[in-house]
């Protein structure tokens, strides 16, 4: 019997005819409202979109376009050049000009000098800055300070630190038995000197990121490990370091990207390709080709190679960040 009443209820004709009608009118309403919103949204996004179109997307595609052409002094394309600039950069054209490949290698070397040491120093400082003492805030501000100092100002200061007549680094020049007068003038020490200075300029940023990573670790983990008799080193080794790994991976990628983009310190401290080309990083070479030699097409090819390197690093970073979110 009950099944029959159920059937009766479902058959009510009026409800069957009106409901699709209602959903139809409702969905057109929603659709109309969404298109109305579209107009507004476009209006709100327009200022940002116009700026990005004019100064990010258009120039980006223009860079790719220019990299296949020989250009004149005014940056106009003269003739199609195929992929010759790329094969020259990678030394595939048989011209034997290895300076461009060397420039990529110098950039990698520079990153290898800056990134690992920079991270080790910032972890040490961040651990130190978690000490529960009074006025720790003052010390944290001091450790953060280099983030507010521009690379240009820092370069002017470090240029004097490395300046032979100031004698601040004379002891190192003597200890290494350098033939050159200063650290920046010797092919073996120029790049490490710029790298050391770069570690200092990026210290503030690295410190902030590392400290916030450490502060995100739950305190009770430390307390329970203390009860279990762990000493400071053990809790660092088995709690802080493993839980900090995602932060450090992020830092690793970000620092590597900024090393590939470093320019200011090279232009101020060295101002050319360095002794035996030892500090001729990619961005500096790009600057030389573009601004000094006005070879816009060739410089664009270097820019595209640089973009590809940074893109790969950025994609790795996004993958790592996604993993980290799942992990949490």
């Amino acid at each position: 019997m009950s099944t029959q009443t159920d059937e009766v209820v479902t058959i009510t004709p009026s409800s069957q005819t009106t409901s699709p009608d209602e959903t139809f009118s409702n969905s057109t309403y929603i659709r109309r409202r969404r298109w109305q919103n579209f107009g507004w949204a476009l209006l709100y996004m327009a200022p940002a979109l116009i700026i990005f179109a004019a100064f990010t997307f258009w120039p980006f595609f223009q860079s790719i376009y220019l990299s296949f052409f020989v250009t004149d002094q005014a940056g106009q394309t003269v003739r199609f050049n195929d992929v010759q600039y790329y094969s020259r950069i990678l030394n595939l054209d048989g011209s034997g000009r290895t300076e461009y490949l060397q420039s990529i290698w110098v950039t990698i070397e520079f990153s290898l000098m800056v990134v690992p040491l920079g991270i080790v120093v910032s972890v040490a400082l961040a651990v130190l800055a978690t000490a529960k003492v009074k006025i720790i805030g003052v010390f944290r501000t001091i450790f953060t300070s280099s983030v507010a100092i521009s690379v240009a100002s820092a370069s002017v200061i470090w240029a004097l630190i490395y300046n032979p007549s100031v004698k601040a680094t004379q002891w190192l020049v003597d200890a290494l038995h350098l033939k050159s007068q200063g650290l920046l003038l010797d092919a073996s020490t120029a790049l490490p000197s710029v790298a050391f200075m770069t570690i200092w300029t990026s210290l503030g940023f690295n410190f902030i990121i590392t400290l916030s990573g450490i502060q995100a670790i739950p305190q009770d983990l430390y307390e329970s490990s203390k009860i279990d008799g762990a000493n400071g080193w053990n809790s660092f080794r088995f709690i802080t370091l493993p839980l900090l790994t995602p932060t450090l991976l992020f830092l690793f990628i970000i620092s590597t990207i900024s090393c590939f983009q470093a320019f200011t310190q090279f232009n101020v401290l060295i101002a050319n390709e360095g002794p035996d080309g030892s500090t001729n990083v990619m961005v500096y070479q790009l600057f030389t080709a573009f601004f000094k030699d006005t070879r816009y097409g060739f410089a664009s090819a270097i820019a595209v190679v640089l973009f590809l390197v940074v893109l790969v690093l950025t994609l790795i970073q996004y993958r790592l960040l996604d993993r980290k979110v799942h992990y949490q």
């Binding site: 200022p47 990005f52 997307f57 953060t144 200092w200 902030i208 790009l286 973009f307």
Partner: protein, 289 residues
Amino acid sequence: MSAGITSNEAHSSTYRAAEMARTIGLYILLIVASLVVLFPILFSLSLAVQGDTLAPQLVPDFSKLDWSVFSQAFNQEPNLGRWIINSFVVSLAVTLGQLITSSLAAYALATLDFPGKSIFFVIFLATLMIPWEATVIPNYLTIARDLHWKDSYQGLIVPFLGSGFGIFLLRQYFMTIPKDLYEAAVIDGCGRTRYLWSILIPLSRPALGTLAVYAFLNTYNQYYWPLLITDSPEWRTTQVGITAFRQTESAVFNLQMAGTLIVMVPTLLLLIIGQRQLVRGLTSGALKG
């Protein structure tokens, strides 16, 4: 009994002594680390106040410090004041511009429901993946050759009026504000733009502050673009100016260092005042959320 108490007392006093030694040790470590971190700044200060000498010492003679060098720097380089003004005009304009363009775009992405939203989302995301170096050549040609904006404020400002970082930062913050508020406001006859202006913006002050500090600092410290786009000395910004000053005064160390310290003051003040905002801005990329 009494023996037990004394040993207990002795224990607690040695414990206290150990704790004290630990604290003192920590302070010593912190102070040493601070001196190492501050070395370049202390170095520049030391060289600045030693007077014009070709053989400066690392530690100055405290009995004859020469502080007049800071006013001397302005006399020696008449453009120094102008450079600071230029940097402030450019940084403030870029900061204000980024706040406006970013909050408008973030508002659309966070609050409105419209077709093709995900496409626009990807477009804004893509701006974060294109490094500045990959666009600098055509941008230079546009600004210098086509628009003749060399040596002008617009040439220094306009290319930086959009910020992908700012859009995502603000979008994330706007999304934490309940959508019911929007529905209620619209039902009450509040227009879309008025909702943004009189409800969303005041509620989002922390995020806007973060973006403002971040944008100002980055623009003030810019070097590459102002170097390309300024020819005459009076149009330089502080960063380009100070490196040029270094070359003109290459043998006058105290002036070089004084000039550098002077142009560092605004950002150091900003660090002290806006440290919380800055830290939030810098970590928002790392900690996602």
